[in-house]
């Protein structure tokens, strides 16, 4: 791989981690959805760049799917849901942005340490790519853990999945079928969650997950 190709993919993958952090920082739903769209754009750029450098045409398709679905359709759909639910002005109380960021930092450090240890024999690019991808996955999880609103949980889940795609694009020879199936399973998950949101809302008048906890009698 030429230095410039390496540098660019390094930059794009690192950018993805950065946008993940930006998502953790956002506490307004609309801004969060915009950031998520950016996340998908960066992802599709990273994947497209991989397609270009590896001359793997099927990756272009993956990039296109990411761009169309995740950067345009899903954020637009979620925005509509948010507006229809009437929570688009809602400010979500995140568990201390600073603390979440620190935790995220720890997760990034952890994933770098783990991945670089495990993949000691792999090429420089694969190591970097996997370390970044794991960071994105863990940050997505972190977001799901720290958010209360169901919409932001969906976004967290989607960004987690972006991390998986990044990992898949970096590892050569990942069959297209797997990716498509992953993409569609996510889509289905999205639809299911979307429907659920409305069901939850119909029943509890809110999409705050605390309501579900108290329904199960878990809330103190």
């Amino acid at each position: 791989m030429t230095p410039i190709a390496f540098d660019t993919s390094h930059l794009l993958a690192g950018g993805l981690v950065l946008v993940s952090f930006a998502m953790i920082y956002q506490n307004r739903l609309q801004a969060l959805l915009r950031t998520f769209a950016l996340h998908a754009v960066v992802l599709s750029a990273a994947v497209a760049w991989q397609a270009f450098t590896q001359s793997a045409e099927q990756l272009y398709l993956t990039a296109a799917i990411a761009l169309v679905f995740k950067a345009i359709i899903i954020p637009a759909a979620l925005r509509r849901i948010v507006q229809r639910l009437g929570i688009h002005r809602e400010v979500e109380q995140v568990v201390g942005t600073g603390l979440t960021m620190l935790a995220g930092m720890g997760l990034v450090a952890l994933s770098i340490v783990v991945m670089l240890d495990v993949t000691a024999k792999a090429g420089a690019f694969a190591r970097e790519d996997l370390a970044f991808a794991l960071s994105v996955v863990l940050l997505g999880l972190l977001m799901m853990v720290t958010r209360r609103n169901a919409v932001s949980q969906v976004v967290g889940f989607m960004s987690l999945e972006n991390g998986l795609i990044l990992a898949a694009a970096g590892a050569r020879g990942m069959p297209l079928v797997v990716e498509i199936s992953v993409a569609f399973s996510i889509l289905i998950a999205f639809i299911v969650i979307g429907i659920f949101l409305f069901r939850i809302r119909e029943r509890f008048d809110t999409v705050d997950l605390h309501a579900l906890d108290s329904f199960r009698g878990e809330r103190r």
Partner: protein, 317 residues
């Protein structure tokens, strides 16, 4: 030898001479962006001359620390500004202080300014001082983490060496850490210079003042010194960002006069672009609440740390 001293001298005079001009440029562009005509770019020079000629009105309760501070702050800022490579690296005294020491020199300036703010014993002085140290205690770690990231890439904290390594050849390529360092540095620069959105340099409204509240009691030549120091600090940060992230055109140690002329020309272009960008940025956003600023600086802090952590991903380090 004499040439080397002369170049160092030129750099010192250059930063001193250019600093008010940069402030004037920012004000002018900002005014134009807001559909005002704005004062001439040379207005800050005239302001300084006017202030110098005016008498000093000193509060009854002011002590010697109050009158000494403007000169100390001016000196510390000037020394720091002349140690940052502007048009050439490897100047005669560039080894006097490395990047960490430059940050600390600016810190001394702020330290004495905060003390002077409290010296007269007014409510505004204390208000400015308390907010300034709060900003500083977030901005300084962010700045130092950025310095860490940069000097881990370059293997040195010596600014001239860092610039030469980053400039190449062979250069260090595109690095996501450097991008993060750049953003962090810009955030720190905005806060440290009291620009919008952290502070507004053009207001004397009680609720929004930070820097201005500290220097409220100054007048005459003392105020001139502080204004000049403030302008040089702005120039310092613009030069720092320029020499680290757009080092093209900068002359190296031992280059001939031709390279130096190119260096000066590109430097002037760089700070002009920096000034215009700052003005447009300021014109397009609103000031934030004082207690939002720590969050804003928290981003810089996080980017600095993340940039340092991501350095270790690269196999090349």
């Amino acid at each position: 030898m004499i040439a080397a001293f002369a170049i160092q001298g030129i750099q010192m005079l250059l930063v001193l001479a250019l600093a008010p001009g940069l402030v004037g440029l920012v004000r002018k562009v900002k005014a134009r962006a807001m559909r005002r005509r704005g004062a001439s770019v040379l207005q800050p020079y005239r302001d300084l001359r006017r202030l110098m000629r005016k008498e000093v009105v000193l509060a009854d309760t002011a002590s010697w620390l109050f009158t000494a501070t403007p000169f100390l702050v001016f000196a510390a800022t000037w020394v720091a500004a002349s140690l940052v490579p502007t048009f050439a690296t490897g100047l005669q005294f560039s080894w006097t202080a490395d990047l960490i020491a430059i940050v600390a020199l600016l810190g001394s300036g702020r330290f004495f300014l905060a003390l002077a703010g409290m010296d007269v014993g007014t409510s505004f002085g204390g208000l400015g001082a308390s907010r300034e140290v709060m900003f500083a205690s977030m901005a300084e770690p962010a700045m130092l983490l950025t310095v860490f990231a940069l000097s881990l890439v370059a293997g040195s904290t010596q600014l001239s060496t860092v610039v030469e390594v980053l400039h190449g050849p062979p250069g260090v390529g595109l690095r996501v850490s450097l991008g993060m360092a750049l953003v962090a540095l810009i955030i720190v620069a905005i806060v440290e210079n009291g620009r919008i959105p952290a502070d507004n340099p053009a207001t004397h409204l009680e609720l929004t003042m930070v820097h201005e509240a500290m220097v409220l009691e100054y007048s005459g030549r003392h105020l001139a010194m502080i204004e000049l120091a403030g302008a040089m600090k702005l120039l310092l940060y613009v030069s720092l960002i320029a020499c680290l992230f757009v080092p093209w055109g900068i002359a190296r140690a031992g280059d001939g006069p031709g390279a130096l002329v190119i260096g000066v020309a590109t430097y002037l272009a760089k700070i002009a672009v920096g000034g215009v960008a700052l003005a447009l940025f300021e014109a397009s956003i609103a000031k934030m609440r004082v207690f939002r600023v720590p969050d804003y600086l928290g981003i810089a802090l996080m980017l600095g740390l993340l940039g340092t952590l991501l350095l270790f991903v690269s196999g090349t380090l």
